[in-house]
């Protein structure tokens, strides 16, 4: 009976019901889409940042991340190699050796990173290959061929084919130096990275730097990037306490934190909108409930308990909220789904994006049904809550006061 009454009352108060319905469903749609947008853009940014160079999982000697010196190198790269080769969850992996050297060309001398990489495997692991700007990428039989970041090349005034010397320390702390030829120039869009990095074939690097069977780290691409964390843990368990296996969550902790902070501020902005909507619905309900106070007094007079009046009115607002939230959730969900497949493209904004380390100007939304359900629940609870105060107000009256209330 309360259901029937609630339903009829909603229909009877068509105007009020449709305004509430409209407000609540639009707000729900907004929340659902905003969540999808924030999650999506953060995911895109992190994915970009991860995939340019750092990789989903990094394996190091156990103390290397805290204290990155040659004392904490991986001294048995082939051991790790064997372990990783036997893991089915891994799509690709490669060893790297990063060292810091002084480059010098003509009058210029600039400090930077010179890393030995495995060019063929590295193609699948980072965007070094796809970031080629001029010349050529490295090969597995290169010797003193250099693949250099565009900004670093600019600072050293180098072009493809030019010669550059470097001086550094070998893995055994011996003095190492050689002449290199610029084979290719890359631009990832990450300015700092492009301004300080250069790569050579690891086979050559190992010889010149006394780094045979050594590495600063391995990077690993999981078959399922979404499960990087679990895989990192599994690898750590497999390798034993001598090594550390960290997922991007740890290696890029600062970025992850920044994204969380960004979400936090995003939700605060949404929260302010919600508070406004909350009060609009509350005032609206207050007016509506008070316009029915005489009727409520009559219901009380003929034997309806305050509890039953409460049930009746909460049922009305819940039914309305439920319908609104479903409509809003569908609407927001459809938008989130559409833009996850056909991402929003920010044409002409590539430059700004690159400052944030984004090599793309596409921003797909994240379509995650669970998040949508979460947002719908939040909105449902909020909109029902916003009707509670008016309902309690009207229920405080004695029947005779309610009947005579004007």
């Amino acid at each position: 009976m309360f259901f029937k009454l609630a339903f009829r009352n909603i229909i009877a108060a068509r105007k009020r019901s449709s305004v509430t319905l409209f407000l609540t469903s639009i707000t729900t749609a907004l929340l659902v889409f905003s969540s999808a947008w924030m999650d999506g853009s953060h995911f895109t940014m992190i994915q970009n940042a991860v995939e340019i160079y750092p990789g989903y999982i990094q394996i190091t000697e156990k103390d290397f991340r805290a204290n990155p010196s040659y004392d904490h190198l991986i001294f048995d790269a082939s051991f790790i190699e064997t372990k990783l080769a036997g893991n089915d969850a891994i799509a690709n992996y490669a060893a790297r050796f990063e060292s810091f050297v002084l480059f010098s060309a003509d009058e210029k001398a600039v400090g930077g990173m010179l890393a030995g990489i495995e060019p063929v495997r590295e193609k699948h692991l980072s965007r070094l290959f796809s970031s080629l700007q001029e010349g050529e990428y490295l090969d597995g039989d290169d010797t003193n061929q250099l693949y250099i970041g565009s900004e670093l090349a600019k600072r050293l005034q180098l072009e493809v084919g030019d010669e550059v010397a470097f001086i550094g320390n070998g893995a055994d702390y011996s003095f190492a130096a050689d002449n290199l030829i610029v084979k290719g120039v890359f631009q990832t869009g990450l300015f700092d990275f492009d301004a300080s990095s250069a790569f050579v074939y690891k086979g050559y690097f190992d010889k010149i730097m006394a780094a045979e069977n050594r590495a600063t780290h391995f990077i690993v691409l999981p078959k399922k990037p979404g499960q990087a964390e679990q895989l990192a843990a599994a690898i750590a368990a497999d390798l034993g306490g001598q090594y550390q296996s960290a997922s991007w969550n740890q290696t890029m902790a600062a970025l992850v934190k920044a994204m969380k902070l960004d979400s936090f501020f995003g939700y605060i902005t949404l929260g302010i909108i919600f508070i406004v909507i909350f009060f609009v619905i509350m005032i609206y309900t207050l007016l509506a409930v008070f316009s029915r106070i005489h009727e409520i007094g009559i219901l009380r007079a003929i034997g309806t308990t305050p509890q039953q009046i409460l049930t009746q009115l909460v049922l009305e607002s819940s039914m309305l909220a439920f319908i609104s939230v479903v409509i809003g959730g569908l609407l927001g969900g459809i938008l989130a789904y559409y833009f996850s497949i056909y991402p929003i493209v920010f044409s002409g904004m590539e430059e700004q994006f690159k400052q944030y380390g984004l090599a793309a100007s596409e921003m797909p939304t994240a379509f995650m049904p669970l998040t949508i359900l979460r947002d719908m629940t939040v909105m449902f609870v909020l909109s029902v809550l916003s009707t509670l105060y008016p309902i309690f107000m009207v229920n405080r009256f004695k029947p005779i006061e309610a009947i005579h209330h004007v």
Binding site: M1, K4, L5, R8, N9, I11, A12, E295, I298, L299, R300, A301, I302, G303, T304, T305, P306, Q307, Q308, K398, P399, I400, I403
Partner: protein
């Protein structure tokens, strides 16, 4: 004498403002028998509505006690009073006050449903009562599709269908023309006789007042006459 309702030393003072006091009822003492058909009359402002509201537990008295069928109503909680109204008291208001979104049948069933009766029971009782009141052809209509007289008969049906011990009707005929008023009173009289329900109504229409077997006249919040004629 089988006393059903006892009103002892009832007084009511309204205090609409801090400064103002309105004495609506002073030391009212009444005994009403089971199955009585009672009229409260008196000029406007004499306290009829106030007294009916206090008897029905819609309003608190400032002094005195109401004892309904051996049970003291004075001082009960809202929830207890709701239960008593639902199970034992039927109300008929001057302005009908049907639930606008419910059909005639649903209006009549409303209190019975609150009482927890089955749909089958409701159907049977609803038919019985509406036939007596000659509104059984209106069951599917909404209140706003009915005339005033029809609405008031539905209101009476709603009150009586839930088998209360007592029906309180505050000027039930005030909004009706005299012919409709008379037929409503005849119906109420019939219900009083056939169902044995005690009915107390207020009125200042001499034709309506004449129907009662127990006449109480109020003036300035006091009982100035209390006579049984039937």
């Amino acid at each position: 004498m089988n006393t059903f309702l006892t009103i002892k030393h009832i007084g009511k003072t309204f205090q609409p403002d801090k400064e103002v006091e309105v004495v609506a009822l002073r030391d009212i003492n009444l005994d009403i028998e089971r199955g009585a058909f009672v009229v409260l009359s008196g000029p406007s402002g004499s306290g009829k509505t106030t007294l009916l509201n206090i008897i029905g537990g819609l309003d608190d008295a400032t002094a005195g006690e109401v004892i309904l069928d051996g049970k003291l109503l004075t001082g009960l909680s809202e929830v207890e009073l709701s239960g008593i109204r639902r199970d034992h008291i039927g109300f008929v208001f001057q302005a009908y006050n049907l639930i606008p979104v419910l059909t005639v049948k649903e209006n009549i069933e409303y209190i019975m449903k609150l009482q927890g009766r089955s749909q089958q029971e409701c159907d049977v009782r609803c038919l019985e009562v509406t036939q007596k009141l000659d509104i059984d052809m209106l069951l599917g209509k909404l209140p706003n599709q009915l005339s005033g007289g029809q609405q008031q008969r539905v209101a009476v049906a709603r009150a009586v269908a839930a088998t209360p011990k007592l029906i309180l009707a505050d000027e039930p005929t005030a909004n009706l023309d005299s012919k409709t008023a008379e037929s409503l009173m005849n119906l109420m009289q019939r219900l009083n006789e056939e169902e044995g329900v005690t009915i107390i109504f207020s009125s200042h229409d001499p034709l309506v007042i004449a129907k009662a077997k127990h006449s109480i006249i109020l003036k300035d919040g006091k009982v100035i006459a209390d006579e049984r004629t039937g």
